[in-house]
């Protein structure tokens, strides 16, 4: 394998991992907010891809940046969906055993899948490109504008999420509710509002990932399960409850899968990935970047 081919494969793996990072980030935000797993995260990614396709005619091929212009619109739309999702999947069941919440997220995920099938049809669809046109050639390596766009957008969104949660008053309130909702309420923070915001942010990030992936890898109503699985593995490897762990785990998965498949086969790559996952669960269950002990469902 030539070094150019290897560089191209690495770039692909990094772009895929960056998109997975957004999915995993949203996944962890919900875990931290309510202590339960959102099993609809994959379907929300799929919904983001279809949302992008649905509203793409609004921007057309504007300035050659259709996808980038659509990104804030899709995130806004999906954020709104996140608010509805919280009030449907979480709040009515918040006083029930936590298993009820993840069952409700599975149910909503299935509803989204069937809804997409009914509205958009069963066929895979191609989303709008982030940046239209051919990419530059650097040292013989053809850089895909789409991949560069995915990498840049994901890096921006991950950084912005980190800054929002770490440096803003609202972000600190969300973290306070995540750590101890009763104490947060005692000091005047409204947990329900912060939890709603967490769902909105998580679903907006899932929607962004859906848009980023929809052009290069298409989108179909059945894609949710795959994305959910990747997010789950990323969080398990990176560390439950850690935002940086989720991002690290996702990037590692993207690179691992692509590189191992490039030298062996997809089947070996898949088997090794699950082997690593099992090893992590056996020998380092708290992940690469462990958080402090906490009960999870």
């Amino acid at each position: 394998m030539t070094s150019l081919a290897l560089a191209q494969i690495l770039l692909n793996g990094l772009a895929l991992g960056a998109a997975y990072a957004l999915i995993a980030l949203g996944f962890v935000i919900v875990i931290n907010a309510v202590g339960a797993v959102n099993f609809a995260q994959g379907e929300l990614v799929m919904a983001g891809g279809f949302a992008a396709i649905a509203i793409a005619p609004l921007v057309g091929d504007a300035a050659g940046l259709p996808g980038l212009l659509l990104l804030p619109l899709v995130m806004l739309l999906m954020g709104g969906l996140g608010v509805g999702f919280a009030h449907l999947a979480y709040f009515p069941l918040r006083k029930r055993p936590r298993v009820a919440v993840f069952v409700s997220t599975i149910a909503i995920g299935l509803v989204l899948q069937h809804l997409a099938n009914a509205v958009f049809g069963a066929a895979p669809r191609v989303g709008p490109p982030l940046i239209a046109g051919d990419g530059p050639v650097v040292g013989g390596l053809t850089l895909s504008l789409q991949q560069l766009g995915v990498l840049g957008s994901a890096a921006l969104l991950v950084s912005a999420t980190g800054l929002f949660l770490g440096r803003t008053q609202t972000g600190r309130r969300m973290r306070a509710v995540a750590q101890d909702p009763e104490m947060a309420a005692a000091i005047g923070i409204r947990p329900a509002r912060m939890i709603t915001l967490s769902f909105a942010l998580a679903v907006a990030l899932a929607g962004a990932a859906g848009l980023l992936l929809s052009n290069q890898f298409f989108v179909s109503p059945n894609d949710g399960g795959l994305f959910m699985l990747k997010a789950y593995i990323a969080v398990t490897i990176g560390g439950w409850g850690r935002l940086d762990g989720a991002v690290l785990g996702a990037l590692l998965i993207g690179l691992f899968e692509t590189l191992v498949a490039a030298f062996t086969s997809y089947l070996v790559a898949e088997a090794l990935l699950y082997g690593v996952l099992l090893a992590m669960l056996a020998f380092r269950p708290s992940g690469l970047l462990p958080e402090r002990a906490r009960t999870r469902v």
Binding site: M1, A5, Q8, I9, N12, G13, L16, Q113, H114, N117, G121, A122, A123, P124, R125, V126, T142, S144, L213, F217, F218, S220, P221, N222, L226, E257, T258, L259, A261, A262, F263, S265, Y266, L267, A269, E270
Partner: protein
């Protein structure tokens, strides 16, 4: 006396109502899951034929989504059998068919399918009727076109890890060896794989002169798109998924240059005649383009209607009629080879790089010599 007359009249009315009562044909197909695109085509074709042709025979359809698991298909079939149908339209997913066949055999109910998996007609079941050419037909067309028309000597093959993929790959390997062009590279690709560059890169190292695909729709489009974007311009002869208009819609017309596909038929390639009429009606009814699966299942359901019109009432009579008679469908003439393979013709279609509508490049009739 009055009561007796009333009872006789009531009995006559009930008997007439019973005679006119519609018979439900179960349509058990994957409308959700990774095969939902093809399953939707199958459903549309069956429903269109029964609505259009079967109403006169008192037939109507009831569609059940089988998903993509064998359990889903078995549950759907068991539920449908409670209505004692004389035949069922059944899933095109090979793994589901393999699970449904023993149940259909016990009930003695014929299954009409468009599944391409070779094994479903190799089990000795008298109740399987396949209206899409199996691998023993379409893979011959695919391999022969690659070797005889395009001059391939060093083919590479990517196929799906599913039963469908493995069945097609096994046939292709055998046929290509027989044609003196053994594979120089092969790999199974899972349906969930999105990034095809790793396998395309390894394939290039084997220096193939043609790329053969036996993948489902999404994977087919991903391979061709990523190959073209990475500068790989190898000619491609793909499986039937590539003839589907929805697959072509995922690619730029220019990326389709040098791409061909085997299929039973290509409805959108026909400019005039009964197939073009079918295409126009299908478009109007469903708002999408028909593919070969829709047309094949339309023909299959039309043959079921013909069996009914010929007087076949029970499941056994329908089965015997399907096994013994030939039927001139829109795509081809169907006749059982004794094992339930009804379709024996194939076409290869090719794209010119300027449009997403392929042209029929070669026809292969009675490939298995059993018609």
């Amino acid at each position: 006396m009055f009561l007796k007359k009333t009872a006789i009249a009531l009995a006559a009315i009930l008997a007439a109502a019973g005679a006119a009562r519609a018979e439900t044909v179960p349509v058990l197909v994957p409308i959700t899951g990774f095969l939902s695109l093809e399953g939707t085509s199958q459903r549309n074709g069956a429903v269109m034929a029964i609505d259009k042709l079967g109403a006169a025979e008192g037939l109507e359809t009831e569609v059940t989504d089988t998903g993509t698991t064998p359990e889903g298909a078995v549950t759907a079939l068991r539920r449908a059998l409670a209505g004692e149908p004389s035949a069922a339209i059944s899933s095109m997913l090979g793994t589901q068919m393999l699970a449904m066949i023993p149940i259909a055999d016990r009930a003695g109910v014929p299954l009409l399918t468009v599944s391409g998996t070779a094994k479903i007609t190799e089990l000795g079941s008298a109740n399987v009727f396949r209206f899409f050419p199996g691998d023993s037909v379409v893979k011959v067309a695919q391999a022969r076109y690659a070797v005889e028309k395009l001059g391939a000597k060093r083919p590479a093959l990517l196929y799906q890890t599913t039963a469908y993929g493995q069945s097609g790959a096994a046939h292709l390997k055998k046929i290509l060896s027989g044609l003196g062009a053994p594979l120089v590279f092969e790999e199974a690709v899972d349906i969930s794989v999105k990034d095809m560059l790793p396998v395309l890169t390894r394939m290039q190292a084997a220096d193939p002169d043609i790329l053969l695909l036996h993948l489902h729709s999404g994977s087919t489009a991903l391979v061709i798109r990523q190959a073209r974007e990475s500068g790989n311009m190898l000619p491609v002869v793909a499986g039937s998924a590539m003839h589907q208009p929805t697959t072509a819609a995922l690619l730029e017309a220019s990326q389709l240059k040098g791409v061909c596909a085997e299929s039973a038929s290509s409805p959108i390639s026909e400019a005039a005649g009964p197939v073009a009429d079918f295409t126009a009606e299908y478009r109007e009814r469903f708002g999408i383009e028909p593919d070969a699966f829709a047309l094949a299942q339309y023909d299959g359901a039309a043959m079921l209607v013909a069996a009914k019109a010929a007087g076949a009432k029970s499941a056994a009579e329908v089965r015997d009629w399907l096994a013994a008679n030939s039927f001139d469908g829109l795509a081809m003439t169907y006749k059982s080879d004794g094992t339930g393979n009804m379709a024996h013709d194939a076409v290869v279609v090719c794209y010119d790089g300027k449009s997403r509508v392929p042209a029929i490049a070669s026809r292969y009739e009675n490939v298995d010599g059993s018609n």
